[in-house]
Symmetry: D2
Subunit: 359 residues, 4 copies
C-alpha cells in the first residue's frame, strides 16, 4: 500500500478498487469490487476519481452494438468523462502535481505523428480513447498520461469539472467559426447541443435557434439561453429561420444531432456564404444535396472531432473563469457508481441532462 | 418647397436651414440660421437630422490645428456622427426609402478603386469624409449617397443611433481578432475605448483590463464592464497584467489612446503570440522597440481604419439587436445645436462621455 | 451611326449586327445577321467582341434541358465568355475607357444586397448572368455594366483573354485554400479542372494528381503540369494517392467533375484535416458519407461559386502578369461564329479543350 | 567504443571527437581534437555530422559582443545548422531510426508550456537553442532530442540539407501570408532574404523586388529569381515599387535586414491593406511612424520567430520534394571544419552566400 503526502493531505492508495467493467463480449456492464488499482507508468499520473459522467459512447458500449463489437476488446474499465485529484505521479512528470484538481481529456495522443507535430493532435492517427481502447475512469482510480490531466482552478464547481471534456466538444464546435453578432442554428439538443447554445450566447451570438423533437430537451434549450426553440415535428425550421433573419437564413449551423432530417433542415435554413460545423454522426449514408447545400451557397463546412489539443481546453478554461457560462443545471441527476444500471437507464430515457456517477 | 408623403407623415423641406459651419480659415465655428438646404443628387438621399454627436476630429476642426489647416477647405458644414430620417430621395436610389431611420457612415467611397472592388472599402483611395471633405450634418438636413445611410431597426434608441458610427470603430477594432475566452487589454478609455470594453465583454472575453490617466474615464470603464481598471500614473500596467494572466501577458491589446507611454505599456503587457489592434493615432514618430514588441513575441499587429464597409455595420446591427451591449449611459450630455460652443467645451474638458447635439 | 475616336482608331458602330440567339423554347440556336446592336445604358459600356469561348452552360442552353427550360426566357443572345474592345461608354462611366482591351465578368451584380455590401458579390442575391438572364456576347457587340469589363494588359494573348472568365473559376477554386507545398488532387479534367492543375502548380503545389475517364483529357492534364494522372476506370484513385503521400492522403481536393464516383474517390483520398473545394455540380442527390468524408476527417469543405468579385480577377491578372501560367494550348479549336454549330458539336464530343468563336 | 549496424553499414563511435568550442569568455573559438563524444540521453539521438553551415548568430558568438556576453555560458560546442546521419538512439525513441539522414531543428522545446500545447512551439517559453544554450554541431557528433531530428528524403542534396534549418526561416516568413499573384518586396538579401526570394517565386508571386546595399548580394538576388533588384544607395525603393505596382505599392513586405532605413523604405513602399512579415532584428529602438506605416494603411504586421514547429519543416520538405526551389548555388563556399577561422572570416566579408563546414 503506497502513501503520498501533500501539505497536510495523505493519499493512501489501496491495492484494489471498485470499477465498472465491460467484462465480456455481450450487452451490459459489471461492477467489480476488487479490481487491481492501476499504477502510473512513465509520464503518467494516478487520479482518484471524484465523479464521472455518462456519454453517448458509453451507451454503445453498454448495448454492445455493431460499432462496439468491432471496436472493443473486453475486459476493460469503462468511462471517459472524469474528474478527480492527482494522487501519485509516474516518472518524468513535471507539469502536473500531486493534489491537482483535474478533468481528463479522453484522447491519448502519440505526439509524434504528422498531426500531433502540427498542432492538430485531435486528428492524431494513433489516438487511444480512455474507456474505449484503454481502461477508463468509472472506478476509484485511473492512471493516465500526465498530458491528459487538465488542471482546473480550485473554484471550478464539481458539476462543471465532471462535464468539462464534453463541454470541450461544444466549445470546439462553436469556436470553429466566428459567432459574435451572428444568427446561429443548433440542430439537436442533446447535452453537447445544449452546451453549444450556452457557449454561443456567451460569445455574443445575435440569436440562437435550437431544434429537437423532445419537448424535455427544448425546455432545457430555453434554460441554456436559446432565443427560439423549434420542434420540427410541429413547425418548419427553415420557415422560422428565414422569418427571423429577414429571409436570408442563419449565418452559422451547428449540427449536433446526426439525424438526416435535422441535417437537411439545417442546411436548408443556412444563408448563402454561411458556415457549418458538423459534430453529430449520421446513422449511415445520407441522401445529400451537395449542390444546394454547399456549392450554390458558397458555404464552408467543417467536420468537428473531439477537442483541439489543447487549445480547446484553454478556451473552456477561459470561458469558465470569465463566468459567462451557466451550465450547472445541465447535470440533472446524480447516482452512486454502484447504481450505474439505474444511471444508464435514466440516460437512455432521453429525459435527462448529463448524469453524474460518484464512486 | 418640396413635399413628400409616407403613410401619414408629410415631410416639408424648407429652402434654408440651421447649420454649424467651419466658415473661415481660423479657430472656431459659426452657427448660420439660413444656410441653403441641400438637395439630394443622383444616388443620394436627404436626411432630416435628429441628432449628432461630437468626435475628436471635430475638435481638431474647431481648434484649426496643423492637420486642419492642411486638410480643410472652408466653408463647409461640420459634423459626421449623425442620425436622422430620410425625407427625400435622389434618382436611382433603391435600398433606402423615405421615412427610414438611419445612422450615417461618414466615409463616402468610390466603389471603383482596387480596395472598393475587393471588399476593403474602408481603405478606398478616393474617400471623402462628411464634415471634413464635404458638408456634414450638424445642421437640420444633410444630403449623402444612399449607400452611406444605414437603416436602423425602429427599436434602436436615439442615444445609440447617434453614436453608431463611432461604435463601428470600436466593433471594427474588437472584431479584428478573436476575443472570446481571451484576456483583453484596452489602453485608452476615450469613447471608442469605452465602447470597445463593452463590445469585448459581449463577445465573451475572459477579462477586460482598461487603462487611462483620468479617474473620470476609469469610472466609466468600470460602468462599461471592465474587469480591472488601471491608472498608469499609479500602477504598473505590465505588472498587473502579468499577475492577472499567470505571468503570460494579455492575449489581445486594443490600443485606443495613441499615447506613446500607453502604446509601450500595452505591448509590454502582451503575451508571446498575442494580437494587437491599433486605432489610436500617435502624436508623431515613436521610439519603438520592434524587436521586443513584435518580432520576438511573434505578435500580429493590425492597423484599424474606420469601419469595414459594410461588414462592420452589419456586426454593429447584430450586436445591438442581440441586446448584448449596454451603451446608453455613454452619452452623458445633450445640448441644443445652437449651444454648440458649450457642447464643444464640455467635450474638451475630458469629463464627459459622448455629447449629443440636437438641431 | 455613331463614331468614336481614340488616338488613330475610329470606331464605327453599325445599327445591326450578327448574333447567335436562343430564339425559341426548343433545342438549338439561331444565327441572326441583322440583330439590333445594343446601346450602352447608364453605367454601361459597349464592347466590340473579338472572340468568345464555349462553356458547359452553353451546352445546356443549346440542348434545352430541364434546367434550361426552367431558367431561360428566349429570345436572347447567348455566350458569356467574351473578350473585346470597349467602343462606347454610357453615362457615368469612369474606370473604363474607350479602346480598353477587356474580358467580361458574366455575373451582373446589384451592389446593394448584404452580400455585395460585404465583399461577397459572387453570392449576390440579385445576380443576372449574361448570355443566360440577359443578352450575351456571341455577337458582334455586347453592352454590359462597366464594372463587368475587366481591363486587360495589352500584352495579354487573345487565347488567354477569351478564357479569362473561366480561368477565374479555376483560380477561385485553387485559391480557396493554401496549396503551396501541398499534395493536390483534381478530380475532373474539363477545362476548369485543367486550368486548376496549371494554377496549383504555379502556386507551388508539391504535386498535382489529376483524374478523368477520358484519355484525351488526361493527356491534356499532363500538358498542364499534372504530376500524375489517373483514369479511375483502370486504377484506384485512393490507392495511388495514399502511395504518393506516405499513406496520409492528399492535403487538398479540388472537385471539378460533379461525378458521384469522382466525388467519393476524391474524399476517400483526402487526408485527415484536409481541405476541399467543390466546384463541379452533381447530377442530383448523392449517397454521401458525411461521417467518413467530413466529420471523422475534421475536413474543411468549401462550395465555390463563380469568381470572387473582383478579388479573383486581380489574382488572375497577377498570375498572368507573373508569367507563371502556361495555358495557351488550352484553346484547341477556333471557329468562325457563323460555324457555331460545328463548334458546339466539337465541344460536345469531349475531345477538345476550350473552343474559340470569332465573330 | 560502441558499434551499431544498419543493413551493411556499421557505425563505430569513437570516445572522443573533433569539435569547435566557445571555450572561454572572450572573442574567438577553439578547435579541440579530443572532445568527449556525447551519448544520447532519454529520447535523444546521436547524429554523426556530415556538414554544418554558419549563421549570423555564430558571428555574434565568435565576436563575443554584448548579446553574447549576456547570454552565453562557455564552454560549449558551437554550430546549429547541421545535417548528418543518426548513428545511435537513446531510450524511448521511435519516430527516428539509426541510419536516417537528418537536418536539425535548433530549438529544443519543452512540449508542456501553453505555447507548445497549442501548436506554437516556436514561441515555447523554455526554448534552449543548440550551439547557444547547449552543445551544438560543429563537431563530429551531436546528441539531440529525437524530435529535433528532421528526417530528409535520401534524394536531398547535401548543400540543401545543410541549410534546411535556415531555409525554414525563409519559408516561415514567406508563408506567414499569401504571396501567390502578389507583389512582394524583400528588404535585405542576406542568406534568409535570398532564400525568401526563391520561395516567394516558387509560391507564385507576381514579382519579387529585392533590396540590399551590396552589389554582390544583389547579384545573388537576381540568381535566386528576383524580378527587380534595388540598391537604396542609388535608387528610391518607394519610387520603383510604386512605378511597378501602378502606384499602389507592394502587397507584401518581407523585412529581412533589421536596418532602420530598410524598414522605413519597406513600409513606405507598402500598399494600403498590405501585409508585413518582420524577421530582421533592428539594432535598437527605432524612430517609427506607427500612424503612416501601420494604422492609416490598415496593414497587418507579423513578427517571425524561428520556424513553426513542425509545420514549417513539412512545408520545407514539400517545397523541396516538389522541385520548385533552386537553392544549391546558395552555398558558395566549403571549408574543412579545421579551417573554421577562414570560413568565419569569409562569411564576415559579406561576399558570400552560405558557407559549409565539413568535419
Amino acid at each position: 500500500m503506497a502513501t503520498l503526502e501533500r501539505t497536510e493531505e495523505v493519499y493512501t492508495i489501496p491495492n484494489t478498487m471498485k470499477a465498472v467493467l465491460k467484462a465480456e463480449r455481450k450487452p451490459g456492464l459489471t461492477l467489480v469490487e476488487n479490481h487491481p488499482t492501476p499504477r502510473p507508468g512513465h509520464g503518467e499520473v494516478l487520479v482518484k476519481v471524484t465523479a464521472g459522467s455518462i456519454c453517448g459512447t458509453d451507451l454503445h458500449i453498454y448495448k454492445w452494438d455493431d460499432w462496439a463489437q468491432k471496436r472493443l476488446h473486453p475486459p476493460f474499465v469503462v468511462g471517459h468523462e472524469i474528474t478527480g485529484r492527482v494522487v501519485a505521479l509516474g516518472e518524468s512528470v513535471e507539469r502536473v502535481k500531486v493534489g491537482d484538481y483535474v478533468s481528463l481529456e479522453s484522447h491519448v495522443i502519440c505526439n509524434s505523428c504528422h498531426f500531433c507535430r502540427t498542432g492538430r493532435g485531435h486528428l492524431c492517427e494513433n489516438t487511444k480513447i480512455i474507456g474505449v481502447d484503454r481502461d477508463g475512469g468509472f472506478a476509484d482510480y485511473i492512471a493516465i498520461p500526465a498530458q491528459n490531466a487538465w488542471v482546473n482552478a480550485e473554484n471550478t464547481p464539481l458539476r462543471i469539472a465532471v462535464i468539462e471534456e464534453n463541454l470541450g466538444n461544444a466549445v470546439h464546435t462553436v469556436m470553429a467559426q466566428d459567432v459574435s453578432s451572428k444568427f446561429v442554428l443548433v440542430t439537436g439538443c442533446g447535452p453537447v447541443g445544449l452546451m453549444a447554445i450556452n457557449v454561443a450566447k456567451a460569445a455574443g451570438a445575435r440569436a440562437v435557434i435550437a431544434t429537437d423533437i423532445s419537448p424535455y430537451r427544448l425546455a432545457m434549450a430555453r434554460e441554456m439561453g436559446a432565443t427560439r426553440t423549434i420542434n420540427p415535428l410541429n413547425e418548419s425550421v427553415r420557415d422560422i429561420a428565414l422569418e427571423m433573419t429577414d429571409h436570408e437564413g442563419v449565418d452559422v449551423l451547428l449540427e449536433m444531432s446526426g439525424a438526416p432530417s435535422a441535417i437537411n433542415d439545417g442546411f436548408a435554413a443556412l444563408r448563402e456564404g454561411g458556415e457549418v460545423a458538423l459534430l453529430g454522426l449520421a446513422p449511415g449514408l445520407l441522401n445529400f444535396d451537395l449542390n444546394a447545400h454547399i456549392i450554390f451557397k458558397g458555404a464552408i463546412v467543417r467536420g468537428i472531432v473531439g477537442r483541439r489539443l489543447w487549445e480547446t481546453w484553454y478556451q473552456v478554461h477561459g470561458l469558465l473563469q470569465a463566468g459567462v457560462l451557466s451550465l450547472e443545471s445541465l447535470v440533472t441527476h446524480e447516482f452512486a457508481m454502484t447504481d450505474f444500471e439505474k444511471a444508464y437507464h435514466t440516460f437512455m430515457s432521453g429525459e435527462s441532462g448529463k448524469i453524474m456517477l460518484v464512486p
